[in-house]
């Protein structure tokens, strides 16, 4: 016998029980501030199927509050709302309690609520004839339906009949979506402009930097974009949108919404193992990943000067980047706005390979390529740069070809960013260690450049604890507590370094 799943379409609409319930259907004004997924690294892309970030949503609503005790229901809030963060301001009388009703209207919940109640059984036989018959539900939805009909007690959907259940109305307390309601008590009826503020899951944003580079150049054209994504089923029209840079602490774990279990009427009569002594909780399988329909990317003219650039603002120890005009933050979509307009930026392109004394010898290693940018006005920057991906492109003919990709952490003004964008097969380093005696070693390192232009090369000398460099063939600087060999390798040339190492006793 084929199980059927009862559709909610069978339900007749019915009024809710009369009570002082005021429904606010939607906000008059809304602001959405999006925060990055707390555990997503600077280099990791947004996962559009499961947005791990969150948003602060702040709505203004016109509500007519009746005199006496009343319940105000807020509709059209984000489905990912964290109800414990909800804050309602602007009610003169104050809020005595807030409720989030999460018991959802589903075939199974409807069946459970109809226990012991009369329903209509629509029975279709093998010939396709349909007849309706009154019945009373006698079992809970676990397992399958057992109903009482005129004939006696029988199992729905058994013995050649296909049964559908039609209910007489909607029970109280079941909602189509999780719904926030507040209880108010007002002395007299009044119209209020209420501000509702809450955090909600299912948002994310990411910064992307694009650096257009000429080989060997000391400056580049840089643009940056903010991509913001809304994975919620609720969209926000004409919203004041902003994103927050920095790392606020946010430790909520995103809980799966309580999965509405299916109601399956099956007719399997063979014995099943007797129930366990402990009524073990039944875990629902994980929710299917929400499909992201209609991913909409705006701002396609990426390399042209964009008309709109987000406005930076200090927010305590964080940074707020505000989209300067109202915008639609549509459900299941992402959107791009410029973080900064194209500008010329001074930067250094450095090839880097370290000498790890004591590690394996003689092997040639590829240099890693780093972008070095000082975040200051003099070099064309000097603004708080939020963490994000960095793409390096090079103009070849008409196309800007990607030549490297990396990521950058949050960079405050005055900091220097080192962004590793890839490894170079053209620039290599070899090093050798020769033992002179118990306490002295001789190190030689050779760096080669096969490019048709000179490169800046840096190499940290990672020494054993307590070791000292004596008589180096080139002047060594210091970086991160290590001796640093910084040199320019000519086009198609090589440079060498040698020094003695005094080891501790």
């Amino acid at each position: 016998m084929r199980p059927i799943v009862l559709g909610a379409a069978l339900m007749a609409a019915a009024p809710l029980a009369a009570q002082q319930v005021v429904t606010s259907s939607g906000p008059a004004r809304v602001a959405v501030t999006i925060y990055r997924a707390p555990d997503r690294g600077a280099a990791d892309a947004i996962n559009p199927a499961w947005l791990g970030g969150y948003a602060l949503i702040s709505e203004e609503r016109e509500v007519a509050i009746p005199a006496g005790d009343a319940t105000i229901r807020f509709e059209g809030v984000a489905a990912g709302m964290l109800a414990e963060t909800a804050l309602v301001e602007g009610l003169g009388a104050g809020v005595s309690e807030k409720n989030l009703d999460a018991e959802l209207l589903s075939p199974r919940n409807l069946y459970a609520r109809a226990f012991g109640r009369p329903v209509t059984l629509r029975r279709t036989d093998a010939k396709g004839h349909t007849r309706e018959e009154p019945a009373i539900i006698r079992s809970a939805p676990d397992g399958a339906a057992i109903v009482q009909t005129k004939a006696g007690f029988e199992i729905a959907n058994c013995g050649g009949l296909k049964d559908a259940i039609a209910y007489e109305g909607l029970p109280e307390g079941l909602n189509a979506r999780p719904t926030l309601s507040i209880a108010t008590h007002a002395a007299s009826a009044q119209k209020a402009r209420v501000r509702l503020t809450y955090l909600a899951w299912g948002f994310d944003w990411q910064a992307h930097y694009v650096v257009k580079l000429a080989p060997g150049a000391q400056a580049a054209e840089m643009t940056a974009w903010v991509t913001l994504a809304n994975g919620d089923t609720t969209g926000f029209a004409q919203a004041q949108a902003a994103v927050v840079g920095g790392k606020p602490k946010f430790e909520e774990s995103r809980e799966e919404p309580e999965e509405a279990q299916d109601l399956v009427l099956h007719c399997r009569l063979s014995p099943v193992p007797p129930p366990l002594n402990e009524a073990a909780p039944v875990f629902a399988p994980p929710a299917p990943v929400a499909m992201m329909a209609d991913i909409m990317v705006t701002g396609s003219k990426r390399m042209m000067a964009p008309p709109v650039v987000v406005k930076e603002e200090v927010l305590g120890d964080l940074r707020l980047y505000r989209v300067p005009m109202p915008t639609n933050v549509t459900a299941h979509s992402q959107k791009q706005v410029a973080l900064m307009a194209a500008r010329r930026v001074k930067l250094g392109l450095i090839h880097r390979a370290d000498v790890d004394v004591g590690a394996e010898d003689g092997e040639s290693q590829q240099a890693r390529i780093r972008l070095r940018m000082a975040n200051r006005k003099a070099d064309g920057l000097g603004l708080a740069l939020p963490a994000g991906g960095v793409a390096v492109v090079q103009q070849v003919g008409a196309a800007a070809l990607p030549v490297g990709e990396g990521a950058m952490e949050d960079k405050a003004v005055g900091e220097t960013a080192n962004v590793e964008i890839g490894t170079s097969p053209q620039v290599r380093l070899e090093s050798r260690t020769r033992r002179i005696n118990d306490r002295v070693e001789m190190i030689t390192a050779t760096a080669r450049n096969a490019n048709r232009w000179p490169v800046h090369f840096e190499s940290q000398q990672l020494l054993p604890d307590g070791a000292r460099v004596i008589s180096a063939s080139a002047k060594l600087g210091r970086q991160d507590g290590h001796p640093l060999w910084a040199v320019t390798i000519p086009a198609g040339g090589k440079v060498s370094l040698s020094y003695r190492l005094q080891l501790p006793r």
Partner: protein
């Protein structure tokens, strides 16, 4: 146990006619006056006083609408003038399989449908067996139900199968009559915690705090108009229940000071009670919030904190943690004990709208405590620790590190063991930067100084530090606006 016979059908049908006209009437709930005491650790005591009409002598009473997550071993029943004979918690649930199983050997009606004509024929028969297929006997024939295009209709539901887990109690009453029967039990599926909304004004140094109690009911049952009492504590979890995560090793967060003032609240044992004034409906799958604290203008300060593990170099600058410090003392503070929960901090942006700037969890906090909330990492205040140099300090000094006393043939003898005393000197440099428009004071913690020798020394430092304990040295440094400070320290240790 009530037997539901087919003969009972007529009044039910009549009932159906009246129902059919409109929505459901309010669901009939068997609960009486319910009081629920909720603890922090998924535990609640439910007390349910029901007015029951008990017959004289022994009788079985079903208690419907108890929590679906009841712990049946904790049920107690008090009925004046009646004694409890036995209590049963039935979880043998009614399902098609169990219905047929229990129906083996029973007469049933078999309705057979002719596939070609759709005509139904009704016969009486008996279920013979239900083992991987159902066998029925009709007269002298034995057939397999699955091959028959037939369905079974039972005259009655078998005894002992319940639609949902049910508590049933056999009571022996000396006199018949109506009386209050108190049912109390422990249940899972309830929890509560505190949620605080803190509006922080850094310039004014003020903090407005609203406290909300957040209740969750996932017990599977709705309790209309229940009296609620919340206990700020966890019982029976063997300690460690102050509501906040316990650090596994040393505290890796800025520390507060625990207070000793008593709040003006009722206590049970060592726990504070938070009663909720009016009877409240606690619906299944509902999260409910009730206000319990609203304080405006408590003083609060911002500070910065960073803890470096031993000898760690970062090739990139690390953010200081932003910390908000305030007190819940009577004077200048929030003036109440704080139940465990989450504090979410908001700050107004340039347009005056509140924006979320981070959150932190607190444990149950007695009144008079100083709290340090770590709300996130500062964008503009950073530190880059570097191990500049490590060198061995050679010395001719030797030290007796161990001395044993051995008694041999009744004669005590002392054995000394000498080991070379070797120190490593580590030169640490910390580059502190502040891109903010105001000077900030930061707290730098260098940890990992104590590894069991207890003799690590800081032999030189660029600013005066202080040993907070054997493991941690703390420097308080002011970094000028848009400036930087280099802090250096020379640490002599055995490793």
């Amino acid at each position: 146990m009530m037997k539901r016979r087919a003969a009972n059908w007529a009044p039910l049908l009549l009932g159906a006619m009246t129902y059919a006209s409109g929505a459901y009437a309010a669901p009939v709930n068997a609960q009486g006056q319910v009081a629920i005491t909720i603890y922090n650790n998924d535990l609640a005591l439910v007390q349910d006083v029901r007015q029951l009409d008990l017959p004289k002598g022994r009788a079985l009473t079903d208690f419907a609408d108890v929590s679906a997550q009841i712990r049946p071993e904790t049920v107690t029943i008090a009925a004046p003038g009646a004694a409890v004979v036995e209590q049963n918690f039935d979880y043998d649930l009614l399902s098609p399989e169990r219905l047929v199983d229990k129906g083996v050997g029973q007469p049933v009606t078999i309705i057979r449908t002719n596939r070609a004509t759709g005509v139904e024929t009704t016969e009486r028969g008996t279920i013979l067996a239900n083992n991987n297929g159902t066998l029925v006997q009709i007269g002298n024939r034995i057939e397999v139900l699955g091959d028959m295009d037939a369905r079974l209709v039972f005259d009655q539901l078998p005894e002992g199968l319940k639609a949902r887990p049910t508590l049933s109690v056999t009571l022996d009453a000396a006199q018949g009559g109506r009386r209050p029967v108190t049912l109390s039990y422990l249940s899972r599926g309830f929890s509560w915690k505190a949620d605080y909304v803190a509006m922080f004004d850094e310039k004014a140094g003020k903090l407005d705090v609203q406290g909300w109690v957040t209740l969750n009911n996932t017990s599977g049952t709705t309790y209309p108009a229940a009296k609620l009492l919340l206990v700020a504590g966890a019982v029976g979890d063997g300690g460690g229940g102050d509501g906040a995560e316990q650090p596994r090793f040393r505290p890796t967060r800025p520390a507060g000071i625990v207070g000793t003032q008593a709040a003006a609240r009722e206590q049970v044992g060592d726990f504070y009670l938070y009663p909720i004034a009016n009877p409240t409906t606690l619906a299944q799958a509902q999260q409910k919030q009730v206000s319990f604290l609203d304080v405006k203008g408590a003083s609060a300060t911002k500070s910065y904190w960073y803890r470096n593990a031993w000898a760690a170099t970062s090739d990139e600058a690390q953010s200081f943690a932003s910390v908000i410090n305030f007190s819940n003392a009577r004077e200048g503070g929030l003036g109440d004990a704080l139940p465990a929960g989450t504090v979410r901090v908001y700050t107004r942006d340039a347009s005056g709208a509140p924006q979320f700037v981070g959150e932190d969890n607190i444990g149950h906090t007695p009144m008079g405590s100083t709290l340090a909330l770590k709300t996130g990492e500062a964008f503009d205040v950073k530190i880059q620790p570097t191990v500049e140099k490590r060198e061995k300090i050679d010395g001719a000094e030797w030290e007796r590190v161990a001395q044993y006393r051995i008694t041999r043939d009744g004669k005590a003898e002392t054995v000394s063991v000498d080991a070379p005393k070797a120190y490593w000197r580590t030169h640490m440099a910390y580059r502190l930067t502040n891109a903010r428009a105001v000077p900030v004071t930061v707290e730098v913690v260098q940890a990992g100084l104590d590894r069991g020798w207890h003799d690590t020394r800081v032999s030189a430092e660029s600013a005066k530090g202080e040993m907070r304990n054997a493991d941690e040295r703390v420097w308080k440094i002011t970094i000028p606006a848009q400036g930087s400070v280099n802090l250096t320290a020379q640490i002599d240790a055995r490793y």
